[in-house]
C-alpha cells in the first residue's frame, strides 16, 4: 500500500545550510527528509512518508514573499502531498512568518491539511492562528521531539478527518473560531454561578471575551458635493423583482450591483426587498425608502450632487458576518473607484 505523502518546509538553519550568513538562500526542494524531518516521520509512524523537504532562507523569504511563495508552491505541488508540515519555528520570528505564510498558501491552493508549530511569542502566531493550526511549542529547538509529537498527532487526525478537539486538548493556539457544543449545565444556571463568583470576587471565566473591531475612521467632509459622482449602497436588501442573484434574506454571502441608469425612482413593480430583519411592508410599497433614488435624482437635477452612478450596490445586513461584509466592501469599492465615484450614500435598515 502506498504511504501517505508529506511535504515538510524548513529554513536554512534546520536544513544545515548555515545560520544567519545563509539566510539569503533562495527556495529549493529536496527529495526525502532532512533534519527535523526525522523526528516528524518517526512521530507520524509507518503509514507516512516525507516525500520532499522544501527549503528557503528566512531573509530571502521575508524580502521576496510573493516570489518565494510562488516558487515554493510550484515545487511542493509536484509531489502531490496529502499533508503539509512547516517548521516548527519555535521563537524565530521570520521563520514563523514563513511557516505561516506557506501553510496558509498550501491549504488554499491544494486544499490539504496543513500544520505548523511556534512559541507563543512568535509574531507568526498572531498573524496566522486564525487561518491554520499552530501547535504551541517551547521557546527553542530543545523542545523539538515534544513539538513534533503533537504536530504528528494532530496532522494524523486531520488527514484521517477525525474530530479535532479543543485547543487545550490538542495543544494548538486558539484560532478564534466559535464552535458549538452541548454544555452539561444550561446557560441560565451557568450565568447565576458566574454572577455569584463575580460578586464574591472569585475567579470566573467569561465564555466569550469581547472581540475587537477594526473601526474605520470617517473620511474628511466633502467640500463641494456638486462636482462629485455619488453611488447608492445599501444593506437593506432591495433587489430587482425575483431576486436574480438569490441574495439571502439573512447571513448574506453575496451582494448585487443593479442598473438604475434609466430610472427616475424605484418602482415597486421593478424592485422588492428580501431583507429578513425588518418588516418589509412599507419598503415593498415604496423601495425608495431604502434606496432613495427619487430624492437623489432631484438632487442631481438641482445640481446638489454632480451626478448619480448608473447602478446601486445591495446586500442583506441582517446576520451577515463582519468577515463577509468586509469582503464585499473591499471588492465593490474597487469598482466604485474605477468608475469615478467620489462619495457613497450608505443606507442601512
Amino acid at each position: 500500500m502506498s504511504k501517505i505523502k508529506v511535504v515538510h518546509y524548513i529554513n536554512n538553519f534546520f536544513a544545515n545550510i548555515g545560520g544567519e550568513e545563509k539566510a539569503d538562500v533562495p527556495p529549493e526542494i529536496r527529495e526525502g527528509k532532512i533534519g527535523p524531518g526525522l523526528a516528524l516521520e518517526s512521530s507520524l509512524g509507518e503509514e507516512y512518508e516525507i516525500v520532499a523537504t522544501a527549503i528557503c532562507g528566512d531573509s530571502y523569504f521575508g524580502e521576496n514573499i510573493e516570489e518565494a511563495k510562488e516558487t515554493l508552491m510550484g515545487m511542493i505541488e509536484k509531489y502531490d502531498p496529502d499533508l503539509f508540515v512547516a517548521g516548527p519555528a519555535f521563537n524565530a520570528g521570520r521563520y514563523g512568518t514563513a511557516c505561516g505564510t506557506m501553510a496558509k498558501e498550501v491549504e488554499e491552493k491544494l486544499n490539504i491539511p496543513v500544520i505548523t508549530g511556534m512559541y507563543s511569542e512568535n509574531p507568526g502566531v498572531d498573524l496566522f492562528k486564525q487561518d491554520i493550526h499552530i501547535i504551541e511549542t517551547s521557546i527553542s529547538a530543545a523542545g523539538m521531539r515534544k513539538a513534533m509529537k503533537k504536530i504528528a498527532d494532530l496532522g494524523d487526525k486531520m488527514v484521517k478527518e477525525e474530530e479535532i478537539l479543543s485547543p487545550q486538548e490538542e495543544g494548538y493556539f486558539e484560532r478564534g473560531i466559535r464552535v458549538n457544543y452541548f454544555n452539561d449545565v444550561r446557560g441560565s444556571k451557568r450565568a447565576v454561578d458566574m454572577l455569584i463568583k463575580k460578586m464574591k470576587k472569585e475567579e470566573y471565566n467569561t465564555e466569550y471575551p469581547m472581540p475587537v473591531f477594526d473601526r474605520v475612521d470617517p473620511m474628511p467632509a466633502i467640500k463641494d458635493l456638486s462636482k462629485i459622482k455619488v453611488a447608492l449602497v445599501t444593506s437593506g436588501g432591495v433587489v430587482p423583482q425575483g431576486n436574480p442573484d438569490k441574495i439571502e434574506s439573512s447571513s448574506a454571502t453575496k451582494y448585487g450591483i443593479y442598473d438604475i441608469s434609466n430610472l427616475e425612482s424605484m418602482k415597486k413593480d421593478d424592485f422588492m426587498t428580501i431583507h429578513g430583519g425588518y418588516d418589509r411592508a412599507f419598503v415593498t410599497e415604496n423601495p425608495n425608502l431604502v434606496v432613495p433614488l427619487d430624492v437623489m435624482r432631484e438632487y442631481e437635477e438641482e445640481g446638489v450632487i454632480g451626478e448619480l452612478a448608473d447602478y446601486f450596490v445591495t446586500t442583506t445586513g441582517t446576520g451577515t458576518s463582519v468577515g463577509n461584509a468586509k469582503g464585499f466592501g473591499e471588492e465593490f469599492s474597487k469598482k466604485l473607484v474605477e468608475d469615478g465615484v467620489g462619495a457613497v450614500l450608505l443606507t442601512s435598515t
Binding site: V179, K189, R190, E207, P211, S250, D279
Partner: protein
Amino acid sequence: MKLELGKIMIKDVQFGEETKVEKGTLYVNKEKIKEMVLEDKRLIKADVELARPGESVRIAPVKDVIEPRVKVEGNGQVFPGIINKVKTVGEGRTHALVGSNVVTCGKIVGFQEGLIDMSGPTAKYTPFSKTNNVCVVIEGREDLETHEYEEAGRLAGLKVAAYIGEAGKKVEPDEIVTYETKPLLEQVAEYPDLPKVGYVHMLQSQGLLHDTYYYGVDAKVMVPTFMYPTEMMDGAIVSGNCVAPCDKVTTFHHFNNPVIEDLYERHGKDINFIGVVLTNENVWLMDKERSSDMTAKLCRHLGLDGVIITEEGYGNPDTDLMMNCQKVAQEDIDVVLITDEFPGRDGKSQSVADTVPEADALVSCGNGNVIEYFPPMDKVIGTLDYIETMIGGYEGSLKEDGSIEAEIQIIIASTIANGYNTLAAKGY
C-alpha cells in the same frame, strides 16, 4: 407575592370528544378548537394536528409556542390585558400542563418564523421536540395586511392555550413548586447578609413585527419598570414578535423563564433575589439611551449588588445589551450577560455587533450560523414553502426529497439568549 405553580405532567396528547387531562394524557377537541380560532373573521381556515416527541414530523413556519396554564386561585386570569381583563397576576395558585404546548403555525407572516423537528439530528436544538404539541394551523384572509395576520395568529394561539389550560383546573398536580418574592423592604430584610440580585429582562420591541406585550402594553411604548418574577408565570408577558427563530423568546419561555427559575433556586442560600427590571429594545437611539439610563437608575434605586441581563434577538439589540451592561456596571453593580453568537458560517467573525469593556462576564448560548442537515420527515405540519427565505435558509436549502440544509438559526429557540438550552460555543 407568592405563587404556587402546580405542574401536571403530560406524557401524551390525543384527540377526544372532550378537552381533558386523564392519567397524564391530554385529550383535545379538534372541532372546538377550530371553531374558536375561526371566531376571528380575519382567519379563514384552521386545522389542528398533533405532534409528539420522536415522531417523524416537521412543523413550520412556527409563530409561537404556548404552554397551557390556568389560574386556580388568586387574582386575574392568564394573559391579562390581552385575552383576559387587566388585573395584576402572579399570586395564588396556577396549574400548568407541563410537557404539552400549543404551537401556532401556517402561512408565513414575515421571514422570521422557524421550524421544529420532532425527531432526527436537529430535534436536539429545540425544547419543543420534547413536548406533546397541539399544532394550530392557520390561514388568514387573502387581503389581510401582515400586522393584522400576526395579531390574529397571536390571539388564536393564546385563546387555544387558555382553553386547553382550563382542562387542568381541577386536576391534582404531580408537583407543586412555591415561588415567593416579598415587597422590596421586606425582601431586603429577609436575607440581610446575602447579596441582592436582580434580573434585567430585555423585551424585544423593535416594532414592525418585533413586539412584546406586558399586560397588553406594547413594550416599545413603555419605560423600564420593576416587577415580581411570579407575574410572568401567569402570562403578564406575551410574545408578539417574529424575531429570528433561533432567538425567539416564545410565550412558553416567558412562562418558564430560566433565569428566574435558577435565581429562585439560589434564593435564600447564596443570593437574595429581589425581582425583575423589565426594559425594552427600541430602534431609536434616544429610546436606547433613555431605557438604559432608567434601567441603571432602577438597579441602583433597588440597591442591587449584581444583575443578570438577557436580550432577545441579535445585531441591533446587542447595542441595548451593551449599553445596559455598561451603565449598570458604572453603578458599581456586578453584571453577567447571556447572549448567543453570530460569527458567520466559518465561525471566524465577531460574535456580537457591539462591545463594551464592562462586558467581561458573558455566557454563550451557541453559534446560530452553523449549518445543519435536516433529513426528510414523513409528515409536515404547516408548509415548507418558505424555507429558503426564512432566516437561516438560503437558495437551495430545500431539497426535492424534503430534506433541508440551513443554518440552525432557522430552528425555533435553538440559541435563545436567555440560557434556556445547554447549547454553547467555545473558541477553537
